[in-house]
Assembly symmetry: C2
Homo-oligomer: 434 residues x 2
C-alpha cells in the first residue's frame, strides 16, 4: 500500500523512517559467477567472449564480427523514422550545449613566495560505455553517457551493447553515431565489462567504464574498479515532487508515474502542503493507472514504494527532502527558486510546474545519470568531469625553495622521514654555498 | 635486484611489462573479519566500538571518553615545539591558499529556447577523516584531507585516530586544530569506519569518509561505500623522475629515496637520457643507503621495485611515463614545461630540479593524496571537489516547453515510456488550449 503520512501524526518519525528504510532492491548474489567470467575473459580473450555470447545471447560471433562495421550501422540506422532521428539530433545538440559549459579551466599562478602552482585537466584516453539490451536499451542513455565523454575529449569511445538473438536497436546505434562513438561491439554482460577492462585481441582495453546494467554488469564493474575507473552503481529511479495546492493534479500524477513506470523498484513521493490536493493526485494516479501501457510495473511501484506526505509548511517539506536526498526533485510551488535554496541534497532540480521531470530525461540538457538511494548527499550526476583527470603542478624557483623549504624539512623530521628532509636540505645547501 | 632497462634492448618490451606488472602489494584477505566488525558496530553501537578498542588498542574507553575533549587537545598540543607548530601553520596556510582556488562556480543561463539551465554546488554536510595511528600517523595527511573539506564548506568534520595504549600524537591533534576539525575520536580500524558510516549514540554518522589506513580500514571503506561516499583506496607510493645528464646525482637519489623510505612496497623509477648519469644516481642511492635512518625499508623498496631506464630521447621518456601513469612525476630537464605537455597521465607534476617531490608532501600547496597504481589514467588527487556535490538545474518557461517538449515526447514514445510522454503532452495541451 502506498504510504500516506502527515508530519502532524504522533508516529510520523517511525513511519518516515520506514519509508526511508524500505529495501527496494534485492540484488541476486552473482559475484562468484561474475568472478569466473572475468577470469575466463582474462585468460582466453576473444574465445571466451564469443563462447559466452553464444551461451547468453544465442548469437554466434567471430573475432571479425564482434564489432559492428560502419556499413552495418549505416544499414540499421537507415530504418530510423525521420521524426525520431530529428528528436535524437535535437536532444544531442541540447545535451552537448549543456555539457560544453562544464569544461573546467586549467590554472597556473605564481604566489608571493615565488612558487608557481596550478593544475591541468586532461581527458581519459579511452572509455567504454555499457548499453543494456532488451527493454531498458535506451538511446537517450547513450547520448547522456557518450556526449560528456566526447566533450571531455576522450579519443577512443567504445560502446558494448548485447544483441540477443542478433536483434540490434537501430535508435541505440543512431544515438551512438550522433554522439561520436568510435566503436560498437555486440556483446554484453560481465564478459563485455571484462573485455573492456582487460582487453582482448579484438577489443583494446579502456581506462574508464560507465553506463547502467543488470546485476551481473554491476558486479563486474565493482570487480574491475581499480584496474579501470567506473561511474556510480545506479539503483532504481526516484522522484520527489514538492507541490502546493495550486497545481493540476493530473500533471503531478503523470510526473510521479513517469518514474514508477521505469521499474517496480522505482519510488515516487509527493510532499504537499495541501491535503486535498494530495488526495486529488492519488485519484489522478489511480485513474491514469487504468489505461497506462506499463500499468503493471507502474502500479506495483506506486503501491509498494509510492508515498504522499502532508506537511504544514514548505520549510518542513525542504527538511524532509534533505533527509530523502532524492535523485530527481521537482518543485511545483509559487517560488521554486526560493524553495530550491533550502533543498540542499538533490541530484537534479526541476523548477516549476512547466518543467516535468521527463524533459530532463531527454532534451533539457543536464545529464539524466544521477545519484540514487540517498547518495545525492555526497555525489553528483554524470558530467564531463567523470571523463577528465587533473594533474597538479608545482614549480619552485630557488628563491621559493629557500622560502618554504625549511618548513618542509621541519615537518619531514617530525614524521621521521629523513630522505624527504635531505632532498630539500641538499638543495638549500647548494643555494647557501653560492 | 633493482631493474636496469634500456629501450635499445631487444627484450625491452618484455622487461618493461615485467616492471609494470610487478605485484607490489599483497593485501591480506580480511574481508570476513571486517564484515563481522561492521555488523557488530551496527548492532551494538558504542558498546561494540568500546570493546573492539579495548581488544585492538589496549585502551579502555567509555561513551564519554570516545571523543577527545577540547581541554585534552589543548593540553596535548601545548607540548608541540614552536618550530613544528610554525611549520604546520605555514603548511596549512599554503595548502588552504591552493585549495581555495579549486572552488568551482555555480552557473545559470537561459538558452535560445527559453530554458533556464545550470548547476549549483553544495558541500557534503558531514565528513569523516581516518588518520592511522603508529608509524604512519602523519600530521601532513591530516592537513591534506581536512583543509579541502573545510574549504568546500563541510559543516561537521570528524577525525578518527587510534591511540594504541593511549598514546596520542600531539602533532596530529595540532594539525586537526589548525585545519578546523570539529571532533576527534580516539578510535581506529574497521570499527571506526563503521561508526562513522552508520553512527552510534556518541558518534553521529557522516556522509563521506576519506583518509588512508591499513588493510582492515581499506576493506571497511569498500564495504561502507554506497552508504557513504569514500575517497580512493590508495596503494603504495610511487615516483617517476625523468632527468637529463645535467643534474646533481645526489639530489635525484634523495628524491627516489624519499618515496622508497615510505614503505617496502613503494616504487622509485628514474628515466634518463644519459646512461652515465643513471649510473651516478645508482651510486648515490647506494651511498645514501649506507646511513639513511630508514635504510632497511628504503633499501628493500629500491632493490625490489626500483628501476633505472635509459632512453634515447625525452619523447621516448614521455611515452614510457604515460604507460606508467605515475603518482608523482618529477621533470628534471632543461625545459620541464615542454616535457610536461607530453606527459599526459600523472597525479602530480614537479617541474625542474628545484622542486623536490618532498615539497609537495608538505608545503607546496597541492594535495599529496594522489592516484597510485596507474590510476592517474582515470582519476585525480584529492581536492575540494571530493567534498562537494552538484545539483543540476532546469526551469522551463511555457515557451521553452513548447519548443523542446515535442522532441521529448517522440523519444519517450520510442522508448515505450508512455507516462514520460504524457507528462509533457498534458502540459502542451494546456498551452494549446489557451
Amino acid at each position: 500500500m502506498t504510504y500516506f503520512l502527515t508530519t502532524s501524526q504522533d508516529d510520523f518519525e517511525t513511519r518516515f523512517a520506514a519509508l526511508l528504510g524500505a529495501k527496494r532492491e534485492d540484488s541476486p548474489d552473482v559475484d562468484d559467477t561474475v568472478a569466473g567470467i572475468i577470469a575466463d575473459v582474462r585468460a582466453r580473450g576473444d574465445a571466451a567472449v564469443i563462447e559466452l555470447t553464444a551461451k547468453f545471447d544465442r548469437l554466434d560471433l567471430t573475432p571479425g564480427t564482434l564489432r559492428f562495421s560502419e556499413a552495418e550501422i549505416d544499414a540499421l540506422i537507415a530504418d530510423v523514422p525521420p521524426e525520431e532521428k530529428r528528436a535524437l539530433e535535437r536532444a544531442a545538440e541540447r545535451i552537448r550545449a549543456y555539457h560544453v559549459r562544464q569544461m573546467p579551466e586549467d590554472e597556473r599562478w605564481t604566489d608571493p613566495d615565488g612558487a608557481t602552482l596550478g593544475w591541468r585537466w586532461g581527458a581519459v584516453s579511452a572509455a567504454g560505455l555499457y548499453v543494456p539490451g532488451g527493454l531498458a536499451s535506451y538511446p537517450s542513455s547513450v547520448l547522456m553517457n557518450a556526449i560528456p565523454a566526447k566533450v571531455a575529449g576522450v579519443e577512443r569511445l567504445a560502446v558494448v551493447v548485447p544483441t540477443p538473438d542478433g536483434q540490434a536497436n537501430p535508435l541505440v546505434l543512431m544515438a551512438a553515431r550522433l554522439a561520436g562513438v568510435d566503436e560498437v561491439y555486440r556483446i554484453g554482460g560481465a564478459q563485455a565489462i571484462a573485455a573492456l577492462a582487460y582487453g582482448t585481441d579484438s577489443i583494446p582495453p579502456v581506462d574508464k567504464i560507465t553506463g547502467p546494467g543488470n546485476a551481473y554488469v554491476a558486479a563486474a564493474k565493482r570487480r574491475v574498479f581499480g584496474k579501470v575507473g567506473i561511474d556510480m552503481i545506479a539503483g532504481p529511479s526516484e522522484i520527489l515532487v514538492i507541490a502546493d495546492g495550486d497545481n493540476d493534479p493530473d500533471w503531478i500524477a503523470l510526473d510521479l508515474l513517469s518514474q514508477a513506470e521505469h521499474d517496480e523498484s522505482a519510488q515516487s513521493i509527493l510532499i504537499t502542503t495541501d491535503p486535498e490536493f494530495g488526495r486529488a493526485v492519488v485519484a489522478a494516479v489511480d485513474k491514469r493507472l487504468e489505461t497506462l501501457e506499463r500499468r503493471e510495473i507502474a502500479g506495483k511501484s506506486w503501491r509498494d514504494f509510492g508515498a504522499v506526505i502532508e506537511v504544514a509548511s514548505l520549510d518542513e517539506a525542504a527538511a524532509l527532502s534533505n533527509r530523502i536526498a532524492p535523485e530527481h526533485l521537482e518543485l511545483c510551488v509559487a517560488d521554486p527558486d526560493a524553495l530550491a535554496d533550502k533543498c540542499i541534497h538533490a541530484g537534479a532540480l526541476f523548477l516549476g510546474a512547466w518543467t516535468p521531470e521527463a524533459i530532463g530525461d531527454y532534451v533539457g540538457g543536464p545529464n539524466h545519470v544521477l545519484p540514487t538511494a540517498r547518495s545525492a548527499r555526497f555525489s553528483s550526476g554524470l558530467s564531463v568531469l567523470d571523463f577528465l583527470k587533473r594533474s597538479t603542478i608545482a614549480k619552485m624557483s630557488p628563491g621559493a625553495l629557500a622560502a618554504i623549504g625549511p618548513a618542509a624539512e621541519t615537518l619531514a623530521k617530525s614524521e621521521s622521514l629523513e630522505a624527504h628532509g635531505l632532498s630539500v636540505r641538499a638543495r638549500l645547501d647548494k643555494l647557501n654555498a653560492t
